[in-house]
Amino acid sequence: NANDRLIEMAKNPENYVMPGLDYTADNYSEMDQINTGNVKDLRVAWTFSTGLLNGHEGTPLVVDGVMYVNSSFPNNVYALDLKNPGKIKWQYKPKQDPAARAVACCDLVNRGLAYWPTDDASKTPNLILSNQLDGHVVALNADTGEMYWKVENSDIKVGSTLTVAPYVVKDMVIVGSSGAELGVRGYATAYNVKTGEQVWRRYATGPDAEIGIGDDFNKDNPQYGQKGLGLATWEGDAWKIGGGTNWGWYAYDPSLDLIYYGSGNPSPWNETMRPGDNKWTMTIMARNADDGMLKWGYQKTPHDEWDYAGVNVMMLSDQKIDGKDLKLVTHPDRNGIIYTLNRVNGDLVRADFLDDTVNVWTHVDMKTGIPVRNPEYGTRMDHKGKDICPSAMGYHDQAHDSYDPERGLFYLAINHICMDWEPFMLPYRAGQFFVGATLSMYPGPKGDRANYLGLGQVKAYSAPEGKYKWSVMERFAAWGGTLATKGGVMFYPTLDGYFKARNSDTGELLWKFKMPSGGIGYPMTYEHDGTQYVAVYYGVGGWPGVGLVFDLQDPTAGLGAVGAFRNLQNWTQQGGGLLVFSL
């Protein structure tokens, strides 16, 4: 089945077949042609503009000598033959309902494509799967770009959009959901790639059956909660508009047959309107691939008061911690904590602050898994919370990070932003924004608050040690994510438009390049004709870019992003495309 083929294909450095490179989502390449000694000689090999200006997230795929490029709304897909990338092999330009633009929370982004390799037995061709902002999922013939099937996954009329990268597991494609800022009750769906048929759909809130909770859910960690909480931790019908979308990243462990991802923030942001722990929003989920049933689930931020949407990247590693060889999932969460759990049963192994300036929590109780709050930085109606760290953008948002198994280090793209937060009441109307909070964001304590600079960090984290090996500040954050390579070089783009290479061991800056526009995607690497290439999207945008993208001036506009990033426009302008580098 597709797993085996994809797993084999992912091992070939000539391919980059899924987000995060392989099912571990560690975005680590075994290639070392580009290394600490020569990365200073890296140069642009070729470039490609997508013809679109909204923020460009994700990273391209490369399969059998063909590169597949995703893009922002209207989500054009381009296939480029690497033998001659100057000619477009095929392009798919969907006509989308422009109304989708009005219900997207955070710029009109898209996080990537998925590839499904045909099996000889099947008549189904190789497929490229693409999620559209207007809620459609399309399967394209990977060789011709022709539409193979197209289903409705999300209804923009009720505020539901799609920005997540689809994810192929076996012969299914897993699709998430967006719209928790419009009260969308989140779900994940598996479709049969051969027929377009829905295999399962599981929600974040509501009745256990709809969430996928059975008798053995959380059996090794009953203290996390088990049955009935998708209803019991909400007042009345609030779970129906309770958020918990999933628009981040997936990982998969074929030996356990478990899919890992995080559910997002409860809705609305105004916590006073939704008493309860609001399960299972903000949860690391481990779902059985075949039926979507939850093996375990760990809610990181019960009763969220700050929009710490829990959808961030899940990186699978096998490491020895406290003398034990463990199968782990590591997850730098928006709430300022980086979690490492035993991915077999959900045991909490590590929970460290992403930065020592986190102030909403005092610590995580490792026995119960409960994050202990500092009540001073909670939020509530009739109160303006101040100097809350992290801000709603979290100390980590949609960046796809990487893990270097040789060095045992996670390379984390971290935000350094704090906020003031003031809730307000509003009614739910399907298809309208349903947030209920006014935010001001600004650099964290280590940044330059006078000039609104120093909004990010990049750090190398060791889970066994619970420590950071190195850490550097960034002017506007490395919103897109990182790539780790055996060459001892890690790469990432910055919001202000630099593509940087650092020494994986020391963080020393070895090389940088000024891209046409800020980067919010993450880098990938592939081999072609014996040469190692590194590719990255440029195209500033995403949540931090909304002020620039939509020309907003009010500092609290863009859900609070405009103020924090008011200076970004002095460093970069919009653009949208791809840079490919080689020695």
Partner: protein, 84 residues
């Protein structure tokens, strides 16, 4: 893994650690209601609005089922369900 006993949290401020049951630990902040219904923070949601998402999903799922059924039968994908 440990089951959590009701521990004595701060009576003055919500810190998340006073659990009614495993995984059910929320408590109102001092001076705020346990339930918003009927309180000054009652959002007074319109049940018709609250029902819209599940209705829409039911309809999308039905249309998708028709499409894939036709596809399995004929090998052709027809998006426009009025043509099925």
């Amino acid at each position: 893994a440990v089951a959590l006993a009701m521990t004595a949290g701060s009576a003055l401020a919500y810190d998340g650690t006073n659990c009614k049951a495993p995984g059910n630990c929320w408590e109102p902040k001092p001076g705020y209601p346990e339930k918003v219904k009927g309180s000054k923070y009652d959002p007074k949601h319109d049940p018709k609005e609250l029902a819209k998402q599940s209705e829409s999903i039911k309809e999308m799922e039905a249309r998708n089922a028709k499409r894939s059924a036709h596809f399995k039968e004929t090998g052709k994908w027809v998006y426009d369900v009025s043509k099925l």
